[in-house]
Structure formats: C-alpha cells, structure tokens
C-alpha cells in the first residue's frame, strides 16, 4: 500500500535550534494518526512542513500525486477588517454549490449559521465551520492542529466522533495534533509521541505504556485514559457500524515501544 504522505529523515532547523530531528512518518489511506508531545516538541512545525509551509533543512517529504488535503488550523484569527459570512468562507478557495455548503454545516452540527459573520461565531461554532470547510474539500488527508482547543470536553468528544464518522464514510486519512491526550488517543489507530524526534509510536495502548511517553506525560494519564476509553466505547454503541478499530482485541505489544516503526524503512 502506498502512503498518502511520507517523510524520510525530515529535519527542520530554525536558527541554531533543531525543531524536528530525522522524523520518519508515513500515513496510509483510512488511518487516524495522532501526534502527541509537550509544548515546543515540534508538532505544529511537523504539520506545517507537511502542508508545505516549512521547508525541510534535510530529508524529504513525498506526497501521493494529486493528494487533496483538508486542514483545520488551531484557532484561526481573522482580521476584523475582513468581513466574511460563513457561507462565503465555505466557498473558498474553490466554488462549492450552496446546497453542499448548507449540508456541510448541518453535518458539522452547526445548521443555520450560514449568514452569520465568521467573527461573530463562538469558539466551538468556528471550529465546526472550519471542519465543514475542510470536508467540502473532499480530502484524502485531513490535518487537524489542536482543532478542539477552546472546546469543552463534551464538545471535543462530539468533534472527534464526527471526525471518526468522516473516516468511515469517506475513507480519508486523518492526522491530528492534540493536547486532549485521552480523548484523542482513544480515537486513534496510531499514536506518535513527538519530542523533536519520534520518541515512540504505535497503537494508543502501546504508546500509553511506553516509558518515554510516561516520562513526558506522567503516570497519571493512564487512569483517565482508561476512563475515557470506556466512555468512548459506550457512546460508540449508538453509532452504526464502525466498532472494528476499538475493540480490546488490538495487539498489546507493550514491551516494544517502537513497534510499528520498521515499516517505514522500505521505500
């Protein structure tokens, strides 16, 4: 299977500081991959280099030909001098039929706000509009940069559920960065723990057990992680179909925190 996007030895330096150090990353169609890491660990830099906004100092980024990327940035600040309605925003940069835009707002859980100004939206509404816009791009890969910052826990959980539903419906891959460790990890197929370099990588269970992860985030996470996981499974029963990736049947190779890394070696 060919990757949608793949980095090999990606290194980014700002001034003298190495922000990203030989990061190997590969995302396949239909995967939900989460990047976790402390502040300043290079998460946003990694996303921005995948988007093409940061040139690698070394290493390569390879995109599948014709790859369509949907992007939901961390709280976008709009200049107050720029008037724009939600409907107009959804049609940028590509024209989209207005019925599709209305439907996208509905699907994102914010129906009927099309005529409002973007600047008049609450944080939660704004992020949902950003998601609606990203979905309208019909992405192969959806990139979310702390997209739930500013949402409460219920709002964030609903947001991630919507994203998971999207993966099921469209088969797109999802790459996200988040501070909501517990919620995000429970929704992911694969977690990459980043701290300048890739500390560890694997299924959420593997990463949560990894000593490097615990060293970064502490032991305390584990309990809440389990709690959220339970809650999430519970909620999930109400949603049709997609229970496959969340059963407890997943292989727990906790002994090897680097499980799953070897696959990138082959080009």
């Amino acid at each position: 299977m060919t990757a949608l996007i793949e980095t090999a030895g990606l290194t980014v330096r700002y001034g003298g500081a190495t922000v990203l150090d030989r990061v190997d990353l590969s995302i396949e169609r239909g995967e939900i991959v989460t990047i976790v890491g402390p502040n300043g660990s290079g998460k946003s830099t990694l996303l921005r280099s995948l988007l093409g906004g940061v040139a690698p100092s070394r290493g390569t980024i390879r995109r599948a030909p014709g790859l369509r990327i949907g992007y939901v940035p961390q709280r976008l600040v709009l200049d107050p001098t720029l008037p724009i309605t939600v409907m107009r925003f959804l049609g940028l940069p590509r024209k989209v039929p207005s019925e599709a835009r209305v439907a996208a707002l509905e699907a994102a859980g914010v129906p009927g706000i099309g005529e409002r100004q973007m600047s008049a939206l609450s944080g939660g509404q704004f992020q949902r509009v950003m998601l609606a816009r990203a979905i309208l791009e019909k992405p192969d890969l959806l990139i979310l940069d702390e997209a739930t910052a500013g949402l409460d826990q219920i709002g964030a959980a609903a947001f991630y559920q919507r994203i998971e539903g999207l993966r099921t419906e469209t088969g797109c891959a999802i790459l996200m960065v988040s501070h909501d460790l517990h919620v995000v990890m429970s929704a992911s197929d694969r977690v990459i723990c980043l701290n300048g370099h890739v500390c560890c990588e694997g299924t959420p269970e593997v990463v949560a057990e990894a000593p490097v992860y615990r060293a970064l985030f502490g032991e305390g996470t584990k309990g809440t992680f389990a709690l959220y996981r339970h809650k999430h499974d519970h909620e999930h029963d109400h949603v049709a179909g997609d229970a496959c990736s969340h059963g407890p049947a997943k292989a727990l190779s906790a002994a090897d925190p680097h499980a799953g890394r070897q696959s990138e070696a082959a080009e």
Binding site: L51, Y71, L76, D79, P83, L92
Partner: protein, 274 residues
C-alpha cells in the same frame, strides 16, 4: 472631441484611479500593508527623478522603482524582521532620497508639488491611456486571482493546504501595488496614494458583509470621492489631489459615526435577549 476638455480628462483619470485602487486597497487593509503602500509610493519619487534625468516617461521610471521597492519589502517580510520599523525606515528614506535626487536635476525645471500631491488637471490623453490601461490590468489581475488572494489573506496555511502558494499571491499584490502607484502619481501624487488605497476600503468595511461587497463599495466610495473632490477643488480653487482625499476622509468619518450609532442601537435592541 469630448476628451479635449481638461475637466473630462481629469474626471476620467480620477475614476480610473479610484477603480484600480479600491479592490487592491481592500487587500492592503486586510493584510495590514499600509506602510508597505507608503514605502512603495514614496520610492516612486525616486523613479520620477530617474525618469527626468534619463528623459524617460515618468510612468516607466516610477513603475520600475516602485516595483523594486515593493519586491524588496515583500522578500524581507518573510524573514522575520521587525516589519513596522523596517517599513518606516524604507518609506521615509525612499522619500528623502527621492527629493534629494530631484533637487540635483538643475537642467529641468520641475514642479515638485505636482509629483508629491498630483496634478490631475494636467492629465493629457497619453496619461489617460496609461491610467486606464494600468487600472484595467490591476482589476483583471485581482479578479483572476481573487479566491487565491483571499484564501492566502485569511491564512497562509489554509492556502497551502488547498495547493495555493501564498508567496506567489503576495507577489501578485506587490506587482498590482506598483502599477497602482505608477498610474496614480498624476492623479493624487506619491504622498496621498496610500490614502486612496486605504480610506475607501476602510469606509466600505462598515457596510459590507462579504469581501466582494467591500471591494465594490470601496470602488463606489473612491469614485464618489474623486468626483466630489474634483468638483469642490474646481469651485473653491483648491489643489485637486488633496481635496479628493479630504472628501474620502469625510466619508470615512461619516461611516464611522454611522457604525458607532448602529452599535448603540443594536446593543439597546439586543439587551432583552441576553
């Protein structure tokens, strides 16, 4: 022939300039490029000096130097300088060097005021052709790149995700700005060009719900100010360029007062709902 009348030529020149400046001015406002406009416009006076020294058309010299300045600033802006300070330095030193350069030109007697504040009543047919040609070019360019420009303005990362290169769009704006500066020299002069970019757009903001509406209303505001200013300067025998800017400044004040009143009314009306 109708174009024989200097007032007709002046009116057409003013309308052409206002039309080109309005949509570009919106981007200048949205992207906070006011000083950028100043630096580019002030550099044009250096271009004027150069043109006179080399006996080239004023328009050509102004365009080339404005383009060089605009490109320099655009390239520097990506490198993390303190832009505010840097642009202040560039804008005013370009003006100072330009004025000094003009003073060396003892062989030609020139009226410096006409380049600083415009001399719209002296616009001839060639000037008119250049103004409308430049305006058409700028409008066509911005209309063509509109969505990409708007997306890059909202967020460079959002643009990149959609396959748009924000730096290329920045260069489009840079080029458009240099053209507007070059065509507007005759009409409002290098010192007041930025006013014609910013004030109509800022006035239009109050009445706009979409970016497109803002561009159209800004164009209308600019044209109304140009016509009003031309008329007033004729009646009261005042310098035309500054008079046009005065009129648009009055429009801006009126719009701001209207916006403030509307705010008060909607707050009072909206209070029970809270």
């Amino acid at each position: 022939m109708i174009l024989d009348d200097f007032m007709v030529r002046a009116t057409l020149a003013a309308i052409g300039t206002a039309l080109a400046a309005a949509p570009l001015g919106c981007f200048v406002v949205w992207r906070r490029m006011a000083y950028f406009g100043d630096a580019t416009a002030h550099a044009a006076i250096l271009g004027v000096a150069l043109s006179l020294a080399l006996s080239l058309p004023i328009f050509a010299g102004a365009l080339v130097v404005a383009l060089i300045m605009a490109t320099t600033v655009a390239l520097l802006s990506g490198r993390g300088y303190a832009m505010d300070t840097l642009l202040g330095v560039l804008a005013h030193s370009a003006l100072a060097f330009g004025l000094v350069a003009v003073s060396f030109l003892t062989t030609v007697r020139i009226d410096l005021m006409s380049y600083l504040f415009g001399d719209i009543l002296a616009v001839d047919r060639t000037d008119l052709g250049i103004i409308w040609g430049g305006a058409a070019l700028v409008i066509a360019l911005i209309a063509w790149r509109w969505s990409a420009l708007l997306t890059s303005t909202l967020s460079p990362d959002l643009a990149r995700a959609a396959g748009i290169d924000p730096r290329r769009e920045q260069l489009v704006l840079t080029f458009a700005l240099a053209v507007v500066v070059a065509v507007a020299i005759k009409v409002v002069g290098v010192l007041l060009i930025t006013a014609m970019l910013i004030i109509p757009a800022a006035t239009a903001r109050t009445f706009s719900r979409t970016p497109e509406a803002m561009a159209v209303i800004a164009a209308g505001t600019g044209i109304a100010a140009a016509l009003g200013g031309l008329r007033l300067s004729y009646d009261f025998d005042t310098p035309t360029g500054p008079t046009i800017v005065c009129v648009v400044a009055v429009f801006f004040c009126a719009a701001s007062i209207f916006a403030a009143l509307r705010e008060v009314v909607s707050r009072r009306g909206g209070a029970p709902a809270d």
